[in-house]
Amino acid sequence: MFSLREVAKTYPNATIALESVTAGFEPGEFVALLGPSGCGKSTLLRLLAGLEEPSAGRIEWDKAARPGPGDIGFVFQDATLLPWATAADNVYLPLRLRGRTRDEAAPLVTAALAQVGLSDFAQVKPRGLSGGMRMRVSIARALVSDPMLLLMDEPFAALDEFTRHKLQDDLHALWRRSGKTIVFVTHSIYEAAYLANRILVLSPRPGRVAADLRPAIPEGPHRRSSGAYTDLVAEITDTFKRVMPEHD
């Protein structure tokens, strides 16, 4: 779908966020970008979204996959909803910005809210929603324009453990159902192991790809407790031990 060729990013204050990242991404993959805080994983996501330009290297898109407005759905760490708009209006926003009328968009908005289980909360404003529900609205907003690529920047980091598990289950199911390509940034080994079918482990700053894992954990209700899952967590932990600098 697209590939990164020795992509590097240095900020004007001389911080090297990324140093020569090379990797290819296939359609339908659920890729977790896993790494410690400050390793440049969010920067990588912003480069993919076109919100920033790489300082060196390039991102090559397949001819058919070159993204235009609305082709990339982005879910931020916070839900970042418009506080004055209802859940439905927040989900409608990306379509509105591209000139779709409310009537035209209504079926898409309804479908997106249904996908995240919020059909009954369409007319509620963010203040009336829980943290988990707000994040669901944010995901529905990213899905409403049926993007070919969904980028998620630690979307569940601020949620409590129970809500996080539920949203992880739902996101994984949604990916299996829709076959969307997802790039998901996280610093949680468990989250990456549970969600993704490919894990890029990034080393601490400046970020480089330290490992490219393609786990095959059996699907089903016991995914979190399967032997393959615990083996994968152990493997990622070992990888981190290798690449993390020694601490006292």
């Binding site: 912003r46 235009g68 407005p69 982005f74 418009l82 004055w84 926003l93 910005l97 509620v124």
Partner: protein, 254 residues
């Protein structure tokens, strides 16, 4: 219980202070041309309320017009400053200079340059009042959440769409805070302008009545006009605070 006491506390304090004041005036036999007691002030208002009420209306009309002008100018400048860094760099120091220059110093020029007395007073009051709206709206626009700006960019939003659908609504709470400060400043500006203009101005506002009463040594009447000004300030501040609460509740309420 504590809430009720807190609510009536300002009124109780006011009444006690007025009682003390009246008692002092009586006890010491202070003549009313030095310091009139509250009863004499109320009496002066009742004797002359037709003139004082119309003076109040005149000052308030200048205040409201100035607040409208300050809102339009303040918001327009804030939007332009948010849109263009060059414009911000060019304008900001001049806005500060205008703000720190005492309006008493420039009012005489404005009264000479602007022929129409009402407009001259409004211009003076706008100069006093526009800065809080400008600075707080500009701060509100600058604080638009960057993630939402990114979201708008990702969806190919135009600058106009970003302004109307995101930046202005985001800046609403800051704007309303600035508006509340500007409301009372517009009243101050209107009064200062009337003072400077004197009989050359509109010749009917509360400040003009205060000057007139002081020339005639009608001190209770002067105090009555002063009290009307104070009350107007409280009403403006409270009304704008109420507007802020209602608008924000309607905007964000679940």
């Amino acid at each position: 219980m504590t809430k009720t006491i807190e609510r009536i506390a300002p009124f109780a304090f006011g009444l006690a202070a007025l009682g003390f004041w009246q008692g002092l005036v009586w006890a010491l036999g202070v003549p009313s041309y030095v310091l009139p007691g509250p009863i004499a002030i109320i009496q002066a208002y009742l004797d002359d309320h037709a003139v004082l009420d119309s003076a109040l209306l005149s000052t308030l009309s200048v205040t409201v017009a100035a607040l409208l002008g300050a809102t339009i100018i303040g918001v327009a400048l804030a939007v332009a400053m948010a849109a263009s860094r060059l414009f911000r760099a060019a304008i900001q120091p001049w806005a500060v200079i205008l703000q720190v220059t005492p309006v008493v110093a420039i009012a005489p020029f404005i009264i000479i340059w602007v022929n129409q007395p009402f407009l001259a007073l409004v211009v003076c009051a706008v100069i006093v009042a526009f800065f809080p709206i400008l600075s707080s709206t500009a701060a509100g626009l600058a604080a638009t959440p960057p993630e939402l700006q990114d979201l708008f960019r990702l969806n190919g939003a135009t600058r106009w769409q970003t302004l109307i659908l995101l930046s202005l609504p985001s800046a609403l709470p800051s704007f309303l805070t600035g508006l509340r400060v500007s409301g009372t400043l517009a009243l101050v500006g209107a009064v200062v302008a009337e003072f400077v203009a004197g009989s050359g101005g509109f010749a009917s506002g509360l400040a003009y009545r205060i000057i007139e009463a002081s020339y005639r040594l009608e001190i209770p009447r002067m105090f009555a006009a002063l009290v009307l000004l104070g009350l107007s300030g409280i009403v403006i501040y409270t009304a704008l605070g109420w507007l802020e609460a209602v608008l924000l509740h309607r905007r964000d309420g679940a």
